[in-house]
């Protein structure tokens, strides 16, 4: 376990180093861009220029970077919005948007995990029979079709034709966050996101489980008198889970990032929409914060996956020499 602890610390330190490098590069690249033009319609140009001066935009690049680092590390202050959400704290806006993204993705994963596992186990148990072929073919189809195509189908069928769900999600003013109405209004997005996750999980489960099912300890389990169901649930599934669980955990971290295109189609006011608007109006403070945010999610999920392997299965010793 000591090597494990050392390994975790090493990975986390490395993650922060990587994040720091990326942050630096992105900062330089962003600051090299010209500032957005001062919009003049009904606004005081001098005020904007003064604001930029106050925000340190006219200082040398390195000084600006130092200021950013100081603000971030000492006060967790990512600056204020300049082109959108003006004068609002960037981090506050981000945190305010996060719940929508998380909730939609969380629901879709909660929907997908049981279904994916069930289909995967079923296909593995019926390997090379027609049931397996049907499931495997469907999996290829569902994995390949882009999520926005599901979104169009769901929107057309369920929202327009059948009228089961509203077109856009409820706002927090009209209903509580964990209410049934919110869930119903999120259903189209949840479904569109779910298909791909279900298919991915099915494929993964089927591959892992069918490999375990052919191993020799399964034969032993049957020989000592366990029924097929017992052997599968007690031995095969547990061993297959060693690989499947980290993937599911990785999915959970990934939900923070969300899906930009689904958020756009269903007008979910989440982090993805925030990023798209930050890019479109060129708000560099938001862009900077979201870059770091997305980088962090990517790195964190890979670390958590790696570490969870070691925790779930002590046989896998991370960071050991061999």
């Amino acid at each position: 376990m000591r090597t494990m602890g050392k390994y975790i610390v090493k990975r986390i330190l490395l993650m922060f180093l990587t994040m720091f490098i990326i942050m630096t590069i992105c900062f330089i690249l962003i600051k090299m861009l010209p500032l957005p033009a001062v919009r003049e319609m009904g606004r005081d140009v001098n005020l904007i220029l003064a604001k930029r001066e106050a925000m340190g935009y006219n200082k040398p690049l390195l000084v600006q970077y130092f200021l950013l680092l100081k603000n971030v590390f000492l006060h967790w202050d990512w600056g204020v919005g300049e082109q959108m959400y003006e004068a609002l704290n960037v981090w506050d806006v981000l945190v305010q948007k996060l719940p929508y993204t998380v909730l939609v993705n969380l629901y879709s994963i909660l929907l997908a995990i049981p279904l994916g596992l069930v289909f995967g186990i079923y296909a593995a148990l019926k390997k090379n029979r027609w049931q397996d072929h049907v499931v495997s073919t469907l999996v290829v189809v569902f994995i390949s079709v882009p999520s926005y195509v599901y979104a169009f189908i769901v929107q057309y069928l369920f929202c327009y034709k059948l009228g089961w769900f509203p077109l856009t999600i409820e706002s927090l003013e009209s209903t509580a966050f964990f209410s049934g109405r919110m869930l119903v209004s999120m259903m189209p997005a949840i479904l569109s996101l779910g298909f791909g996750v279900i298919a991915g999980l099915t494929r993964y489960t089927r591959a892992e489980l069918s490999e375990v099912l052919t191993s020799e300890f399964m034969l032993l389990a049957r020989t000592k008198g366990l029924t097929k169901a017992q052997a599968t649930s007690r031995h095969a599934l547990r061993n297959a889970m060693v690989v499947i669980l980290p993937m599911i955990i990785g999915e959970f971290i990934g939900i923070l990032g969300g899906s930009l295109i689904i958020e756009k189609i269903f007008a979910i006011p989440g982090v993805g929409s925030l990023y798209v608007s930050a890019v479109n109006v060129r708000d560099y403070n938001f862009f900077m914060a979201l870059t770091v945010f997305y980088t962090f999610i990517g790195l964190a999920s890979s670390i958590v996956i790696d570490i969870s392997y070691g925790i779930i299965d002590p046989r896998i010793r991370m960071g050991s020499k061999k």
Binding site: L29, I143, I265, V276, V279, N280
Partner: protein, 514 residues
């Protein structure tokens, strides 16, 4: 019983050489050798779904390459009147499917309007008209299928003198009536489409408050309301006239076909025929048109061509960069490997979205959106390929045959390119092919979101087409249907094809998923 080992004495003269002046050598194989690629091909051939997928990819590729060349339309083509017309395939029109008809529910006024176009042009505008139903408010409704092409009906057009003459000449040569008589306009709020150009019949109530109901004669027919020569200014018209108009040979007044105004001649033309006159071909949009009146079929092919071009170039460039980088990493190992791995670690940790955005902001203005996108894909895309190649090198570099070659004095370069690389090529090719659908998918996503815009006068992208159609999903789903269908088939085919390739190159991995 003699000793078995005892040879009977053979006289010397009975002995002869088996081969005296011949050289000993192996016999040349009668059969053809099966090389690496041949072996893979033999296995690939047996994978039916992969073969079908490969054929589909080739077909889609041909579609993308050929259609923009032979199509009547191009991306620039926009028709202001044939916006959102439904898909029509002349080959299947006779069967009543894919013929541009749309089911609609219309009031009595709408019924009069659409049937009137059919009566005047002689084309089938409405069909399958149901029995009228009366709803609670007392309004009469019909459900019917309306031809989205012919329902445009008539438009007013201002022609120059040359165009006016050319059109008359066209009418005389082909015998097709394009110019129809102008009609008496009256002050009414009821104007359905094309500035009232379709109102050629008398209304039951011509007052401004008209509800648009047609006035019928005793046979239940529309009554024409054409402008008569007696009471209107008219321009010279010498071409064919519609039935029932003799041009005044019987001394009665005749219909007015054109009026002169400041800019030229105002005529009322049958748009379907006018389109043919203007463009030289019949208005047939295989996949319909979008809200700008662009031909979806051509735009889709053009967008697909762009996607293919981008994806294949990205895949090729990443193949070369990744192979070089991974080979050096994997072959030399040690410190070189660690240092180079850190670089690719950092690069792979940058979210792709951020890379695209930064490249777009920095480069799009200088080198164009497409090239900046290409750079963005190359910037981080090769990392995966390098990792794959590196792994293969680690796998092979310790094997005995490499050791043997090195002992025989083979240089690094020879070992890398002659001994290790050919062994890894299958995996590398598979990786390259499997990266193509990813590029196409993310390109369509990015252009859908508007983060990149590949829309110019001569090209469009699938993502842009989807974004344009999204607001019309409920009313005109065909705008989104065809691009979605295309990209779905493409992605499925590429995945099946890639899986087939992987199984063919690495039979031991069959069924395993990466």
């Amino acid at each position: 019983m003699s000793n078995r080992n005892e040879m009977p004495a053979i006289p010397l003269e009975k002995l002869r050489f088996a081969q005296k002046d011949e050289r000993l050598h192996d016999v040349k194989f009668e059969t053809k050798p099966i090389g690496y690629f041949k072996d893979a091909w033999l296995r690939f051939r047996n994978n039916k779904s992969a073969v079908v997928a490969a054929v589909l990819i080739v077909l889609l590729l041909l579609f993308a390459l050929i259609v923009p060349m032979i199509s009547n339309y191009d991306v620039n083509f926009r028709d202001g009147f044939y916006k959102t017309v439904l898909p029509k395939n002349p080959a299947l029109s006779g069967l009543g499917i894919w013929d541009g008809f749309k089911k609609q529910r219309e009031t009595q006024a709408g019924y009069d309007y659409y049937t009137s176009i059919g009566i005047e042009t002689g084309r089938e505008v409405v069909r399958n008209i149901s029995e009228p139903t009366v709803d609670a408010t007392g309004l009469t409704y019909y459900s019917m299928e309306v031809d989205s092409y012919s329902k445009v009906g008539f438009i007013y057009s201002n022609l120059t003198l040359d165009e006016y003459r050319a059109l008359q000449q066209y009418q005389d040569e082909t015998g097709i009536q394009v110019i129809y008589p102008l009609q008496n306009t009256f002050l009414t709020n009821y104007v359905m489409g094309n500035m009232g150009a379709n109102l050629w019949y008398k209304l039951a109530n011509p007052a401004p408050t008209s509800d648009g109901l047609a006035l019928y004669d005793e046979n239940g027919k529309h009554i024409p309301n054409y402008m008569l020569s007696a009471n209107a200014s008219q321009a010279d018209y010498k071409s064919s006239r519609i039935a029932g108009d003799d041009g005044g040979t019987d001394g009665q007044s005749w219909y007015v076909y054109a009026q002169k105004n400041q800019s030229g001649y105002k005529v009322r033309v049958d748009y379907y025929e006018f389109f043919k006159f203007k463009n030289g071909f019949e208005p047939v949009f295989l996949f319909g048109t979008n809200i700008y009146g662009q031909d979806i079929f051509t735009c889709l092919a053009s967008g697909a061509r762009l996607s293919f071009l981008l994806a294949i170039s990205v895949s090729l460039i990443n193949f070369f960069i990744g192979a070089m980088y991974g080979a050096v990493e994997g072959y030399y190992g040690g410190t070189t490997d660690i240092l180079m791995e850190r670089i690719s670690d950092v690069l792979s940790a940058v979210p792709f979205l951020v890379v695209v955005t930064l490249f777009k902001m920095h480069l799009a203005a200088k080198v164009g959106a497409l090239v900046s996108l290409l750079f963005a894909y190359v910037m981080t895309g090769w990392v995966g390929m390098a990792a794959r190649v590196r792994m293969q090198f680690y796998r092979f570099k310790g094997q005995e045959y490499i050791l043997a070659a090195r002992t025989l004095g083979a240089k690094d370069r020879r070992l890398i390119f002659k001994h290790i690389f050919p062994n890894a090529i299958g995996t590398i090719i598979t990786g390259s092919v499997l990266s193509i659908p990813g590029v196409i998918f993310s390109e369509s996503t990015l252009s859908y979101l508007g983060i990149i815009s590949l829309e110019t006068s001569s090209m469009t992208s699938i993502g842009t087409m989807l974004a344009n159609g999204q607001g019309y999903l409920s009313t005109f789903p065909h705008i989104i249907l065809f691009p979605s269908l295309f990209i779905s088939i493409l992605m499925i085919s590429f995945n099946l094809f890639g899986n087939g390739l992987r199984d063919a190159f690495n039979p031991s991995l069959r069924g395993a998923d990466e």
